[in-house]
Symmetry: C2
Subunit: 207 residues, 2 copies
Amino acid sequence: MTRASTRKPGEAAGDDQAAVPRRLLEHATKLFAKKGFDRTSVQEIVEAAGVTKGAMYHYFGSKDDLLYEIYARVLREQTRQLESVASSSAPLRERLAAAASDVVVSSIDNLDDNTIFLQSMHQLSPDKQKAVRAERRKYHERFRGLVEEGQASGEFRTDKPADVVVDFFFGSVHHLGSWYRRGGTLSARQVGDHYADLLLDALRPPG
Amino acid sequence: MTRASTRKPGEAAGDDQAAVPRRLLEHATKLFAKKGFDRTSVQEIVEAAGVTKGAMYHYFGSKDDLLYEIYARVLREQTRQLESVASSSAPLRERLAAAASDVVVSSIDNLDDNTIFLQSMHQLSPDKQKAVRAERRKYHERFRGLVEEGQASGEFRTDKPADVVVDFFFGSVHHLGSWYRRGGTLSARQVGDHYADLLLDALRPPG
DNA sequence: GTCGGCATACCGACCGGTCGGTGTCCAAGG
DNA sequence: CCTTGGACACCGACCGGTCGGTATGCCGAC
């Protein structure tokens, strides 16, 4: 009985004592990414997290909720990051390059969330799906703003619609999970810089 | 409730005489794209196709088989198309641009297959998944060959690994389904040409 | 008469979600 | 100090329903 009774759900040192909701989200993320949302039963998730179904339904309203929370967390973090980079005082090209490279790095750091986003988004309930899409859209619009800024100033080509360029780029980003492997020759940052270079160079005014 | 005639069950007008396997694949494709593989029951598929489960399991070994056939058909077609464009006698830049634009157009023409590919690939049985991946890989390698050809001749920049560029581009292509809408302002060919331009310009040697 | 081409009825497995119960902690009352 | 009560965190057996797959029967063609 040396178990110190950390009553409050706060972060303790041991991973065993991590808050139950956190553990659930963590293992759910891994399982969803590996097997897909529908193929992962609630039973599997709670077993992986070392709790029971009762615990899970105590903290989450449904299996959908679990998925939604995973999305919401990632979106919040990426939006925060973009906002901080985009509104700095650096020159535009640097801001865009940083934003592009950063989103690649963060996508690689959380490849699981990325995979889930791709494969399981449409399995959310329609209203939650709508909420996610709205948030995602805001993110894209912020990014597009940078491109448009460069088009207005003459730094970037104007013969390609900004939204096409943005969708072009984020398609690549979302698909990192289907080819990037951690043991490979390229670090996350290297890939990020490559991608940023490709984007910036594709935006050069035609010569 | 005995069906008097061996004929159609009400509607299914037009291609009523289309072969049963074809009808099954056709409707399965639509349903898989709309609701996802796991969320689509065999019952729904056979009802949409106007047949019964007995018929389906007469022609296909499993639900997985249906999905696999859909993949195989698309892959065969895309590979054939790429091969024909890539091996023509046109200048390299034109061949790459045509290949890039064509794959965009064909992806848009068959947005359903594209969506399925993205969302349901990992739900195939491991061996079938392996077969699909191998075929896909051959396709990418052929495309990469074009990029490497241009790098060797000095037409393209050499500071970006060819496989990174190829993954960059196909990420964008695979994600067309998540934003392209048919009623929009851009035709499939216009998007294809935009994408091809972006790729070619990103490949220009720096300077 | 038997064989391909289906239809129909049905099975066993499994899954998301529920619900009555249990242990623990804390605050208040005695 | 001890008791009490009840809020909170969690347990786990259970249920209604669905799904992929199968067993078997029917029917027209050869």
